[in-house]
Symmetry: none
């Protein structure tokens, strides 16, 4: 997602501008919600409004780019945990960090929801990419017995979106996450200290 739809690679300065705009948009939308004006984004980025529209021909496309960037970052983080020592901790840790981020940036929640809506469309490859990376974490956690076997990546994505929403709007956080985590754990309490023989 670093070149324009047209194909041709951007000049270095144009690329830099694109990045500035994207960063500004991320922050502005995070703070003011997605109804913030494009002008505001331009101001924050220190470029003219025309430059914003040159890189993102539509406000919607700008919004999409922000969501894609967020999803890509999450996917990258998930991929980095692919071979963590403790698969359960990796999975739950990742889940928790995403929700914490979402509490601060509404756009994260939207990105997750968007990605969940069938995991294609607007966000292009980013949704499926995240889902795949999350699927790997999930699989390993399931193999390790830390997560019940009968849930799939799709459900976890949805749960993630829901918890992110709850974290951002409704005042809860840890308490609600605890419920979701317990719901994700194996019912039988497989091999965990403290369970019956």
């Amino acid at each position: 997602m670093t070149s324009p739809a047209s194909g041709r690679p951007l000049r270095a300065d144009a690329l830099r501008n694109r990045a500035k705009v994207l960063a500004a948009a991320e922050e502005v939308f995070a703070v003011q919600g997605t109804s913030a004006s494009t002008e505001e984004v331009a101001r924050k980025a220190g470029v003219g409004i025309g430059t914003v529209f040159r890189h993102f021909p539509t406000k919607e496309s700008l919004l999409e780019a922000v969501l894609v960037a967020l999803l890509e970052r999450l996917a990258a983080e998930a991929r980095g945990l692919r071979s963590a020592d403790d698969p359960g901790a990796a999975f739950f840790g990742f889940f928790g960090r995403v929700v914490a981020q979402a509490a601060a940036k509404q756009a994260v929640t939207e990105a997750l929801a968007e990605a969940g809506v069938d995991a294609r469309q607007a966000t292009g490859r980013a949704g499926p990419d995240l889902k795949a990376a999350l699927g790997v974490l999930l699989g390993r956690a399931q193999e390790a017995g830390a997560v019940r076997a009968d849930v799939g990546a799709g459900e976890v994505m949805a749960l993630l979106a829901g918890m992110s929403y709850a974290a951002g709007r409704a005042g809860a956080r840890e308490d609600v996450l605890r419920i979701a985590f317990d719901g994700l754990r194996p019912r039988e309490a497989p091999d965990r200290p403290g369970a019956p023989g």
Copy 2:
């Protein structure tokens, strides 16, 4: 919520119009989101734009009224289940129906979120009312051993909002609810180290 803020009760025809507007708003906001125009609401209600503003002097006040109406309806339903035979079924059934509604009406989710944000403010008494009614269902379900004892109404509200969001946006539904419900049920092995972090 059937008389205007000003005082004196409305004439029968005015009351009818108020209801028409409210119903139209509910539907319009459900379908198009809360950014739908007031004009659209008026059109759907079959009244002039002036009539909408006579009853709800601000778009915000109209939105609030819609949310309050939704919350009141949910609270009423919850209160109706106060003495249901099977407290567990009552609680989980209610939870599930709310989420199902939310899948169709985005406004329900917003109402829940709004209500959760400390349960006062914009939605007035409606938020706390729902929380209280839900608390009763929860308490009985807990007494009956159908729900774990260490969760409160606030967390359930937040979970409800999150699940509603997930249901409406991310494509899931029953599968995700299953996880949440399992998380709410008492563990077979009550005390167990390892909470989310």
Copy 3:
């Protein structure tokens, strides 16, 4: 100006309502300017908006009625001074009181201006009536040598409107009136008792 244009005399209660509306309009327009809403007038009068429009079919007609009432009152006061002992004092005193009133009620200035615009039209008989009454005061003051002989009632009306405006908007009052009064006095008789007040 106590019966409707239609002819038929009003019932006692209707007449009372008309008066209430007129009084309310006078006060509301005085305080908020002529852009105050008709609804506000109805509220102040304690009647329904429909009643206001029954008596004054147009906002403009209501405004006119207010102006006419003011002019009639001024004309009546002027007529009451017709045979005052000191014609000069009567003339200047009247002038000063009108200006003082105008400082508080913007509508007075508008009434005078309206009346001056040819002294007919909108305000009907009221403009000419005031002009005539003022003319009498002026004539006697001129005969008594208190006012220069080469000014007519029309010019005095215009001067009155101008001073009223100045008094209401620009911060002046007595100082400016003094200039106008000196301008009205005969050149030949420099010092003379009776200053503005």
Copy 4:
């Protein structure tokens, strides 16, 4: 007053548009009063409504700009007469021309009134500037014995506003001005071409 509040000077074409809008506003407000619509101003200026709001973010700010422009023009004219040969003629001539202008442009009267209301606030520096320039003309005319010594610039401003109002609304003009001028002249030197012999 040729650059926007924001800072940086406007591009040539933008400056031209700003001027067009201002001129149009001046004319529209002159003819229809200050309640004329912004849309009308845009139409008259031959620009889109958005352009008007880009230069003047509020209707009030547009109105203010018009008043300021008028006051500045008057102040400039007054300053140009600072060293006129005949101070009396300069003073009275200026006074008369202002009133004549006001007869055509209602906005002039409002500008003067606004400026008189303490000579600050809305019109910023423009009010005091005019008052100062007028004060110079007045002072020289007083030194030359053409104007009585016991009036100040404030009173003259107020008188100017009043006469402007009278000229625009009440039908008078020269006759009324004559009264005001006589009121301004020194009492002691009734008929006077050029001063004492």
